[in-house]
């Protein structure tokens, strides 16, 4: 090759610069719509676990940040009606068969489960994914339960001596979900005064 070596550097640099500008431009144009979509997704997820009749505010924007079980900050979405907190919703994590599962848990002022939904998971299709409400109604059976109902030592799948059904062929996934909800309710019990505090 007759070309001097630095030519290749300049060519590579020029391509990087050119495509970098294209990417920066696309990011500028798309960042606002993407943030908007993320907010809508959150609103959708919250509206599934918090019944619309119990609040007159927008829980997506009425948030408090507390320290979660793992010591990391946890954003809590609050439903209020007439100035009183009627329910709170926050994300809980459980360990499943294929890594972490993220769920949204909503609890009312008495500590009873308003609803739970899976947000993201990598469980086996056809087995572990029965935690999705689109596949089965399993996850809806937690609604109305609380730490005393069933008793704390019964917050397990049947295989472990608890009261909750596992799926045929999949125990690890429901075990993780049950444990995550129990931890979520314990978090509520520990932080009740802060969660229900009216600002």
């Amino acid at each position: 090759m007759s070309k001097p070596t630095y030519i290749h550097g300049i060519i590579l640099g020029a391509f990087c610069l050119g495509f970098g500008v294209v990417l920066a431009g696309t990011d500028m144009v798309t960042s606002a719509p993407i943030a908007q979509r993320a907010l809508e997704d959150k609103q959708n997820a919250l509206s599934k676990v918090i019944p619309p009749t119990i609040h007159d505010n927008n829980p997506v924007t009425d948030t408090v940040v507390l320290t979660g079980h793992d010591g990391k900050p946890l954003t809590v979405y609050r439903a209020t009606k007439g100035g009183k907190v009627t329910g709170v919703a926050y994300q809980i994590e459980g360990s499943g068969y294929a890594g972490e599962m993220r769920l949204m848990l909503a609890v009312d002022a008495e500590g009873k489960v308003l609803g739970v939904r899976a947000l993201a998971h990598k469980e086996t299709p056809g087995l572990g994914d029965k935690i999705e409400v689109a596949k089965t109604d399993w996850i809806t059976r937690f609604t109305g339960l609380s730490l005393g109902n069933p008793a704390a030592d019964k917050w397990k799948v049947k295989k472990d001596g608890g009261v909750f059904d596992q799926f045929s062929g999949a125990t690890i996934t429901p075990r993780g979900v049950v444990a995550a909800i129990r931890h979520g309710l314990e978090f509520y019990a520990e932080n009740k005064s802060k969660l229900l505090e009216v600002r």
Binding site: I7, F19, S168
Partner: protein, 225 residues
């Protein structure tokens, strides 16, 4: 080598020189995404879009890319195309993105786009390069959908489950249950099933090629001569 005719490009991409069933390229997304026919189809289409765009760009800029830095430039182009698809779909096709979003970053880990840039777009004119990207991509889609269908039917008993989430409610009719619920062989959905289904389809393709009297060579860029 003379530029192949369009009919050769189409035949190569879809069947003779199929990226998955013949060249065995792009195994990472193939294994990961073919747990259902719908997933395979979605991954295939997203890959086809990236391949068409990157083949086109490389063919256009070919004169400016020196031999020594061609590979980093190709990788840059593929990565930029993937990011552009990712951002625009997230912003303006959000429902589709929720289904496909998982697959899109995986396209970067696919060596098939890179292989076609090097083997085709770096040497051939712009329009044949675009055609090669499109038909290699469609061949990839075909193979992934077929592997996904084999795994989904044997593992889960369904075919094209959730197709309406990907393609819209009009495609609800595609969602079929072939076997009764809970009768599938779970292994087919787990990673070993990916290798089994791919192996069976590769063998099936070779059998058909032999029946048709084609010469089969083992390995190499062209396995049907």
């Amino acid at each position: 080598m003379a530029t192949p005719s369009y009919s050769t490009i189409v035949k190569d991409g879809l069947w003779d020189n199929n990226g998955v069933l013949c060249m065995l390229l792009g195994m990472c997304p193939t294994m990961a995404m073919t747990t259902s026919a719908t997933n395979g189809f979605g991954m295939g289409l997203a890959t086809a879009a990236v391949m068409a765009a990157s083949n086109l760009l490389v063919a256009i800029f070919r004169g400016y890319i020196t031999y020594e830095v061609r590979v980093p430039v190709y990788i840059l182009i593929v990565a930029v195309m993937v990011t552009l698809v990712d951002l625009t779909m997230n912003a303006w096709m959000h429902e589709l993105y929720k289904v496909l979003g998982l697959f899109i970053p995986l396209i970067v880990s696919n060596c098939l786009p890179l292989a076609r840039l090097e083997a085709f777009a770096a040497k051939e004119p712009v329009l044949p390069s675009l055609a090669d990207g499109v038909f290699m991509g469609l061949g990839f889609t075909l193979a992934l959908t077929a592997i996904g269908a084999v795994r989904e039917i044997s593992g889960n008993g369904t075919l094209f489950a959730d197709a309406s989430l990907l393609l819209g409610p009009a495609f609800k009719f595609m969602e079929m249950r072939i076997l009764p619920a809970d009768t599938g062989v779970l292994m087919m959905i787990l990673p070993p099933g990916g290798f089994l289904a791919t192996g069976l389809l590769v063998a099936g393709k070779r059998l058909l090629d032999l029946r048709a009297g084609k010469q089969i060579s083992m390995g190499g860029a062209h396995c049907v001569g």
